[in-house]
């Protein structure tokens, strides 16, 4: 492996034959994990579809009166941008510019914090207005069957997504430290790449949550 002379040889686990096999395995493993994550959310999307179908009018009304469009839209831009910075971080990590990659990951982390901050403001508003799931629902403006169901789904879906954001931020933070230490290069960037995949999935799910909860 001649091109690796500049930095320490990347760690190759004993049971793999070469780096390529190890990278492919890691990547495929991550994609399989992402597939299972997609199906985890599918349970919720199915519940959403059914209840939206049954209570279409109430859901639209609840979405209009119950959630803040500006917050959802801002958060969409925030997450898209954070995805860009993560993609760029991987790009520069591959080029061996670890410090720049770490800085970009730092920006992504800040954007992640911004996302959670806006979400927290929204949650506080919902608590204040009584727009809460199930038996806690006291929002007077939207009544009728399915009204509390919208907020049940809203809280479970955004809550689970929020947990994924936190998990993703943890992983990105670890990668930022490793990038800062110049651990990645043209031959060894699989860890930061699969961490990025996870963050992009978080973005992907939000891309669907945004129209379903805020727009329609």
């Amino acid at each position: 492996m001649p091109e690796l002379t500049a930095r320490a040889a990347p760690p190759l686990a004993h049971h793999f034959v070469d780096m390529r096999q190890q990278t492919e395995a890691a990547r495929l493993g991550m994609w399989l994990f992402l597939a299972s994550e997609v199906l985890l959310f599918t349970g919720l999307f199915t519940a959403y579809s059914i209840y939206r179908y049954l209570y279409a009018g109430v859901f639209e009304e609840a979405s209009r009166k119950g959630v803040e469009l500006w917050a959802g839209t801002t958060n969409t831009f925030v997450l898209i941008t954070s995805s860009l910075t993560v993609a760029l971080a991987i790009h520069f990590a591959r080029l061996g510019r670890g410090k720049l990659a770490a800085a970009l990951l730092g920006v992504s982390l800040l954007l992640g914090c911004a996302f959670l901050g806006i979400k927290a403001i929204e949650y506080a508003n919902h608590f204040h207005e009584g727009q809460l799931p199930g038996k806690f629902y006291t929002f007077a403006e939207v009544q009728g069957p399915g009204a509390s169901m919208f907020f049940t789904l809203y809280f479970i879906m955004t809550g689970l997504h929020g947990l994924h954001v936190i998990a993703g931020m943890t992983v990105l933070a670890v990668m930022a430290v490793r990038a800062w230490r110049e651990e990645f290069g043209p031959e060894h960037y699989a860890p930061i790449e699969i961490a990025g995949l996870y963050w992009h999935l978080v973005d992907l799910i939000w891309i669907f949550l945004y129209p379903l909860l805020y727009l329609i």
Binding site: V17, D18, R20, Q21, E24, R27, L28, W31, L32, L34, A35, S36, V38, L39, T42, F45, T46, S49, I50, Y53, L54, Y55, A56, G57, V58, L69, T73, T76, F77, I80, T81, S83, L84, V86, A87, L88, H91, F92, R94, P145, G146, E193, G196, L197, H200, L201, D203, L204, I207, F208, Y210, P211, L212, L215, I216
Partner: protein
């Protein structure tokens, strides 16, 4: 020694400009979906438009940010398979709700649509005119 599957060349490495272009497209689509929602297209179009735009955005993220465009087929296959099962679950469960005996759905604004014939055949107006309400014990006079 790995077998044939690992013999692909190093994935192409594109410039940073490509990511920025995708980001611009994503932002534009977000603005687009926001505007479309203001148009009040009415059901079901507002839903379809919003979901189509979301799917386009998701496609961009998956293909370029997540490099599915460049990577070996198996990763694409994994992702596509998961989407097949997403469609399967949502589709068949929705189909059930839409074609059920209407009263077997919870009371809702849509109870009356998609009435299966079985429900229509229940009791026609006028059939019970001969008897007391819910005439019991005697078949309604008919034909």
């Amino acid at each position: 020694m790995p077998n044939g599957e690992h013999q692909t060349a190093l994935e192409p490495h594109h410039g940073a400009g490509r990511y920025v272009a995708v980001w611009v497209a994503l932002c534009a689509l977000t603005v687009g979906t926001l505007l479309a929602s203001r148009l009040s297209l009415g059901p079901p179009w507002h839903l379809l438009v919003a979901l189509a735009i979301a799917a386009a955005k998701a496609g961009l993220v998956a293909l370029f940010f997540m490099h599915l465009w460049d990577q070996p087929g198996v990763n694409r296959l994994v992702f596509a398979t998961s989407l097949v099962f997403v469609a399967l679950l949502i589709g068949l469960v929705l189909l059930d709700s839409a074609t059920r005996f209407p009263l077997a759905n919870p009371p809702n604004e849509r109870t009356l649509r998609f009435e299966p014939p079985s429900f229509e055949t229940h009791v026609q107006p006028g059939e019970r005119e001969q008897g007391e309400p819910g005439a019991i014990g005697r078949p309604p006079a008919r034909e």
